[in-house]
Amino acid sequence: MKKKWGIFAAILLTFSMILSACSSTSGGSSDKDKSGKLEIFSWWTAGGEADGLKALIKVFEKKQPDLKVNNAAVAGGAGTNAKAVLATRMQGGDPPSTFQVHGGAELMAWVNSDKMQPLNDLYKKNGWDDKFPKELINMVSKDSKIYAIPVDIHRGNVLFYNKKIFEDNHLEAPKTFDDFFKVADKLKAKGITPLALGDKEIWPATMLFENILLGKLGPDKYKALWTGGEPFDSPEVKESAEIFKKMLGYINDDHSSRAWQDASQLVADGKAAMNVMGDWAAGYYTSLNLKPNKDYGWIETPESDGDFMVITDTFGLPKGVKNEGDVKKFLTVLGSVEGQDAFNPLKGSIPARTDADPSKYDDYSKDAMKDFKSDALTPSLAHGSAAPESYLTKVNQAVNIFVTQKNVDQFIQSLKDASSELKK
């Protein structure tokens, strides 16, 4: 009889252990929210980005000494790991206080899922409406509700080139596609790889293509592509694909083994002459102790003078956070000149506000800040601003196939087939 009670107790014990294990985990997470800690979620974990974020948090903590900030950055994969973690948390109803997201379609994915709160009152209170460019605010708005604060700007349509190679061969940085191919032919004849590409991950190739599209179509038609106003089988898009195909004849053989840094490195080492990359490459060159305008030069990608391909990191306010007031205090600092000037010089980006202090930035950034004020702004496809991720995945797939197979008709057809994703 005693033994049976023992067994009974054992079963009870094991069951209660399972139950308590379950309840303690769910209890834990709700406690965390109530403590009122500000959780800043990003993928800025290394180098200048991390330093910039720390400087920004320092500015905030000076202003709000009684608020604690929890820097919840997730490393790896240029944000892909962080995005996976974020998706899980948002779906599980445990959003971070605020999170890094590219302005445009990537932010809209959360807005359309009804996970974000509008921030119009914050803009009004701080008088921000005329401090950010109108086109930039449009990228973070839906139905005239503004959903995020842009903190930094990177430019996507930059062609970096090795100054020494260009001077030695008496070449001018190309302004048109014809110039580009003339320069490329001369370089090829000398045995120098004209164009460096690192498409181990495919997005640099997609970036190259989107910049050709921008050059050939101009900003208005380029933007219309993503809203269904411009067909993918128009002569201009076809011509862009032909140019893309021709450009691929001038790239390094080992492109599929290189990441974007390795391609930038080719230009830095003088093994290749040009590289189309976002201007974070300028930050990379700075980290290699190369001097702007001396070691490397830059120019807008062919025929995109006066256009600015925008990649912007923004922060918004998710629904369901407990400490809304505190998050808004942080976002206020994020949108202030002081906050943006603390963050951007360290990250190597330019501020999203047009009234920041240029003297704090290096030569390249000063140049970019000047253009940012006057240029037409266009959203980048390769970085998730122009179109939903589901469309981007299909385009990346088509680009990956095109780089090898170089079949223009098939490529255009894939772009057209994928465009059903744009309407979702």
């Binding site: 067994i7 094991t14 252990m17 996976a84 994915a109 899922s113 990956n400």
Partner: protein
């Protein structure tokens, strides 16, 4: 309730109640105790393994293509789009070729090394450790190292360049012999050979260890008897050692197959999807579909196909080994 059962069942089912009840009672209390100890892990495995497999299967039949869940039933639609997809067709070709090459080379090389080490050489344990060490690394480390070793413009290629060989390794996009199947070109993607080299480098030590254990398990008397009968060393190897190593080979194949069919980290660190998807694998595609483009339904479908492909190897093995036990 348990009490009632314990007292009633023996009397009802046993024809001879005088001697049996006591033993039976002890046995059933033991059983109850065993079950109560096993129960937590059974529940945990049921929920966290089989429950989630079931959930993945359910998601794979749904219309969940965005961040917000949409669990309405879509039938086999996701599977159909997958099988028509260029990338997925490439993935199927790559996995098949990779698995065959990888298992064949690992099994053969492991066996050869084991036979050599078994020859009572000097410093045997040193060699054994040298071959086993790569196994202690993670595939990520292996991937990064071999990415640079086999990079077309660095590593061993500086040497090959001097010899006049222009090897492109994993950046090669040729597929040999190149037969059109569906949307893709069928054959052996040359780029995969680089990946096979890296994977073989890491896993050969494991098959070596297994074969070595197998060789040590063959009684010396058998070989001695064969020698007495005038068999040559080669005949001994073919007629005695090889047949006796067959169960080891089976285990090596099973273990390697489940590694190669699920491979993700090595590809991710070493080559990525590769130009024209010559080195892409379902695992990489699943990750990107699910977590990058938030297409949970299609991601689930890929995961289920991967599970089934591993099951093709594992299930017959489990049945076989169960029969062996009985």
């Amino acid at each position: 309730m348990a009490e009632a059962n314990l007292q009633n069942t023996p009397a009802r089912t046993q024809p001879n109640p005088k001697t049996r009840p006591k033993r039976k009672k002890i046995r059933s209390t033991d059983r109850l105790l065993a079950i109560s100890f096993l129960l937590p892990s059974i529940v945990a495995v049921a929920v966290f393994v089989y429950g989630f497999i079931g959930w993945t299967g359910y998601v794979s039949l749904s219309k969940w293509h965005a961040i917000l869940p949409d669990l309405s039933f879509a039938g086999l639609e996701n599977y159909l789009t997958l099988f028509q997809n260029f990338r997925f067709q490439s993935d199927l070709r790559n996995t098949l070729i990779f698995t065959i090459l990888f298992i064949a080379v690992v099994a053969l090389l492991g066996q050869c090394l084991a036979v050599m080490i078994d020859k009572k050489i000097k410093a045997e344990s040193l060699f054994r450790n040298i071959f086993l060490f790569p196994m202690a690394l993670s595939f990520i480390v292996t991937g990064v190292v071999w990415r640079w070793v086999l990079n077309p413009s660095s590593g061993v290629n500086l040497l090959f360049d001097k010899l006049g060989w222009d090897l492109k390794w994993y950046t090669d996009t040729t597929i040999w012999p190149g037969i059109e199947i569906g949307k893709v070109t069928g054959g052996i993607p040359i780029a995969l050979i680089a990946v096979v080299i890296a994977a073989v480098w890491q896993m050969t030590g494991f098959s070596l260890a297994m074969y070595l254990a197998g060789l040590r398990g063959i009684p010396e008397e058998l070989k001695e008897a064969a020698r007495m009968d005038g068999a040559s060393e080669f005949q001994i190897y073919r007629k005695i050692i090889l047949p006796m190593l067959r169960p080891i080979t089976l285990s090596v194949i099973i273990i390697m197959a489940h590694i190669s069919l699920k491979i993700f980290d090595l590809i991710y660190a070493m080559t990525g999807s590769g130009a024209n998807f010559v080195t892409d694998m379902p695992g990489v595609y699943m990750f990107e579909t699910t977590f990058r483009s938030h297409n949970y339904a299609e991601g689930g479908a890929i995961a289920i196909i991967m599970l089934l492909s591993v099951a093709i190897f594992i299930v017959p093995y489990l049945i076989h080994s169960r029969k062996g036990e009985q």
